[in-house]
């Protein structure tokens, strides 16, 4: 059969092909939904010492932060990968996480660590998100209305900006007082234990406000994933839709980064797994599956860290480690294109 089909390229070869992978996305949705819910409940109630009235609101706050970050990172990564037609790039390549570090560094450098901390986290948050949105808006405006208009140029500029921001941050960190640097380091690493309730509420509103248009775009995103030419032929207003998607992405990344620091590799992990689980590519399935995977990974990971390892290490380190391994495995399997 094999040899015959190679001499007749158009010959039907379905008999030697395996059928479509059997588990439909809806089953995964249910499984992951139940798992996410169970983990959230477990996180809330397992190992409570002392007064529940004191512990529960604090834990609720942390679970809320994790769920928000899971949504923001999963949705932004998938939208970004659909628009760029690439499954290895993430929004971090646009230099957003590097910008976050630069903003933090510059604020500590200019105002001093103590002054920055006394600024209060909501105000700091608003400043950071505004600066990051401003940056991405400038980048897209310039690239889409300028002469280039190509996503590849956008990505290249993103990489160059990232290197530039990192370089400036390193310079500022060298010049800085060592005790200030310690404060700075504390701000960088993702932590779900320091999130301010007001910040959380603000971010929740922003994330919800962005997920509604993202969900409404889901059918158009499916078409966009076919590539520019097919999308235009099928009547998509390509430039407008892509700009809208990239703005949604950058705000989501900005919110999640400002909330808990850079956890961008997490997006890669979640999206790669979500594509594997969906036997057919539809954003209506991929988006919720990626979000649920994100919640399971974050809440489950934090639960294990706290209850098993008793807080010895930061969750972001574990996630970057596991994500790196999973991603390498996927790469070596040759599935990621």
């Amino acid at each position: 059969m094999r040899s015959r089909s190679s001499t007749l390229p158009m010959a039907l070869t379905q008999s030697v092909r395996k059928p479509v992978r059997s588990v439909p996305p809806s089953v995964w949705l249910v499984i992951l939904g139940v798992a996410a819910l169970a983990l959230i409940i477990a996180f809330m109630v397992v190992g409570i010492e002392g007064s529940p009235a004191y512990v529960l609101p604090r834990r609720l706050n942390r679970v809320g932060a994790m769920v928000l970050v899971a949504i923001a990172v999963a949705v932004s990564t998938i939208l970004f990968q659909t628009v760029t037609g690439n499954r290895i790039l993430t929004p971090s390549i646009m230099g957003l996480d590097a910008l976050y570090i630069l903003i933090q560094t510059a604020l500590v450098f200019l105002l001093g660590g103590q002054a920055l901390l006394s600024l209060g986290s909501p105000l700091r948050f608003v400043i950071e998100v505004a600066l990051m949105i401003g940056f991405s808006w400038l980048l897209y405006r310039w690239l889409f209305l300028g002469s280039g208009r190509s996503l590849h140029l956008l990505l290249l500029v993103g990489i160059v900006f990232g290197v530039f921001f990192r370089g400036v941050s390193t310079l500022l960190q060298r010049l800085m007082d060592p005790s200030e640097f310690i404060i700075l380091q504390g701000l960088f690493f993702a932590s779900f234990n320091r999130v301010d309730p007001t910040l959380l509420l603000l971010s929740a509103v922003v994330v919800a406000g962005l997920c509604i248009p993202a969900w409404r775009l889901r059918h158009r995103l499916d078409v966009l994933a076919l590539g520019r030419d097919s999308a235009v032929s099928l009547g998509i207003d390509y430039r407008r839709t892509v700009t809208l998607v990239l703005v949604i992405c950058s705000v989501l990344v900005a919110v999640s980064t400002a909330l808990v620091g850079p956890v961008t590799f997490f997006g890669l992990l979640v999206s790669a797994l979500a594509y594997q689980l969906c036997n057919r590519f539809h954003h209506a399935a991929v988006l919720p599956i990626a979000v649920l995977l994100g919640i399971v990974a974050l809440v489950g990971g934090q639960l294990v860290l706290e209850q098993v390892f008793e807080f010895d290490t930061a969750l972001s380190i574990v996630i970057e480690f596991v994500g790196g391994i999973v991603f390498l495995v996927l790469l070596l399997k040759g599935r990621v294109r």
């Binding site: 390229p9 479509v20 037609g85 889901r218 994933a225 076919l226 097919s230 032929s233 590519f281 294109r337």
Partner: protein
């Protein structure tokens, strides 16, 4: 009818399409021929709004390609480019279903399913409907994309070098199919093609381009003469009449 008025496209200092004006009749098969770099694909891309002209105006069935809403145009005109690489995993039926997007915005109705099944059937793909596109051979994938275009159900179908990478048998199949789309379904088919003999045997009208300019337009009988072909390609080509078709012989 497709009307092209003084259309020009430049890349930097290079003029790729130079002040082209013509009318293409509705219905039938029209081939655009010419040497490499003549601007054939660029002209086709501008007809289908994949590229914006620097000057001039193109109308398809009375709709201005530059200003008509994308979705409205997508119900009138479809384009198939030569490179169709998918980064995502889709079944053939899903891919063909995307052809219905301009009509249903992603919410399929029973009528859409009829269209999809008829398109699959027309291209002899019904048995492959549940296979993944990335598992198909080159010829099958090409047919799957044509089925998507067919499901889009537009009066005008534009194709950029549809014979690229197809062997003889599949090239003939493809041209017969395009002829059938025009004759049986009343579509207007416009294609860019390199092989003058395929153009001669299957077209109602041929446009010949050279260095960005439209230098000849006419029926195969008018274009397939040694003088005109020499004008287009700068090559001496004998033309023989074989079974009612004019065949250019340029191999030796």
């Amino acid at each position: 009818m497709i009307s092209i008025d003084h259309v020009t496209k430049r890349y930097g200092a290079t003029t790729v399409v130079d002040d082209v004006s013509c009318r293409l009749p509705g219905g039938g098969v029209t081939s655009i021929i010419g040497p490499n770099g003549a601007g054939k694909s660029t002209l086709l891309s501008m007809m289908s709004r994949l590229l914006l002209p620097d000057a001039g105006r193109i109308e398809v069935a009375g709709l201005d390609v530059g200003t008509t809403a994308g979705q409205k145009l997508a119900r009138t005109l479809s384009i198939l480019r030569q490179e169709n690489q998918l980064t995502i995993r889709l079944s053939v039926r899903d891919l063909v279903g995307f052809g219905r997007f301009p009509h249903n915005n992603g919410r399929p109705t029973p009528e859409d399913r009829d269209h999809i099944e008829r398109s699959l059937d027309y291209l002899d793909l019904t048995d492959l409907g549940d296979r993944f596109v990335d598992e198909l051979s080159g010829g099958q994938r090409q047919r799957a994309f044509i089925a998507m275009v067919l499901a889009q159900d537009t009066d005008y179908i534009l194709l950029d070098e549809p014979l690229n990478n197809l062997d003889m048998r599949h090239s003939v199949d493809m041209m017969r199919l395009l002829r059938g789309l025009a004759d049986d379904l009343g579509k207007t088919v416009v294609l860019v093609i390199h092989d003058v003999n395929f153009a001669s045997c299957y077209s109602d009208e041929i446009l010949a381009m050279r260095e960005g300019a439209l230098i000849h337009q006419g029926t195969p009988e008018q274009i397939m003469t040694p003088e005109v072909l020499h004008d287009i390609y700068d090559v001496d080509i004998q033309v023989e009449q074989i079974r009612g078709n004019r065949i250019g012989v340029y191999f030796a």
